[in-house]
Symmetry: C2
Subunit: 228 residues, 2 copies
Amino acid sequence: MNAIMKRLYQWPLDPAGRLVRLVLAEKGEGFERVDSPAWAPHPDVAALGYGAVTPALVSSDATGRVVACGTRAICEHLEEAYPLPALLPADPNERAEARRLWAWVEAGCEEITDTLLTERVVQWVRRERQPDSEKLRRGAHALRGRLTFLNGLVEINGYLAGRTLSLADLAAAAHLSAYDYFGDVEWNAVPDLKTWYARIKSRPAFRPLLADRIDGTRPVPHYADLDF
Amino acid sequence: MNAIMKRLYQWPLDPAGRLVRLVLAEKGEGFERVDSPAWAPHPDVAALGYGAVTPALVSSDATGRVVACGTRAICEHLEEAYPLPALLPADPNERAEARRLWAWVEAGCEEITDTLLTERVVQWVRRERQPDSEKLRRGAHALRGRLTFLNGLVEINGYLAGRTLSLADLAAAAHLSAYDYFGDVEWNAVPDLKTWYARIKSRPAFRPLLADRIDGTRPVPHYADLDF
């Protein structure tokens, strides 16, 4: 027997860490979670590599270890190491579309995470100060634009990149779930996306995310509700 | 015979399009280039998919076509479709490192492209106005930081992610070559990176980039010089 031990350095409300948790859970891979918030990284992280940041996954077995940092390195590695269930379509054209939209979600949501989510965290988790209302407004505006785009995609396809679940869906759900913790997603404005999210939310892999409770905060009432 | 026709929509000084051109050339795959600048996209591009942007690669043969947009979708597709020469290491740990640094380059250079390179293009290519000196300064500052980081990596490894060329190197060289067209890279401040760039620059795959001449501009004298 050659058991593989996995340790994931992440912070529970970071959308990137949430994506990795979803991928590991979909593939049935157990792992140990270690909290490492961006503003106070776990000391192990810097030792993982020159410029290493979270999320960082360390997989060790008797033959050595694999260190993967960032969603691109981690998710592609997991897809190669644990091909089933596949989270990228087999067809090259659909595969390219899933990767395009996965990248689109990550690039397009960065501004929302940096403004809206960061300000919520500063106010409610770190309790440092009142949020910057201009940043909240900017983030909310960006979020509305992304929701409209995503709603258009699921209206066509059912899932973002076609008729099956892919990394694009998990990336989008990871981001939206983090914003939803503080009640920032106006689901009623995007009915098709709401139906899509209800479907993703009810997957067993999603349960640990819905169980997250960050110190001193509680999520909005509908956060963990499968019938919201 | 089942010839595959490839068409790449890109703009010559866009670092993302340069990366794709390098990957195709390293793999010995011919393609037709179609100019599609961000400010005046080729009409074909919007029809490639909902929200499609450049670089976009369309590969067609008798059995169908593959549309890939964005460097993540395109380069991973090319690596799967044309595995040799490999541009990601075979070892899972080194592979994860190459993808981490590839992502790091793209995220870390975005600010430089959006400020420094964009202002140069506005001034010299589009000839719309004088550059915004504050943006030039911000971009130059960001570039110095990235150069220092990259110099540290090649000093350790020879290439960015280890002892062999990978997508991380091609991504970094694609970005730096675009900034270098206007003379914005202070090579003498980063001697190890300068040696690395001289090595990459002398690869046959790099020649088409060095031959680029954008309408109405000429690159700085050392741009195409292999012994700069």
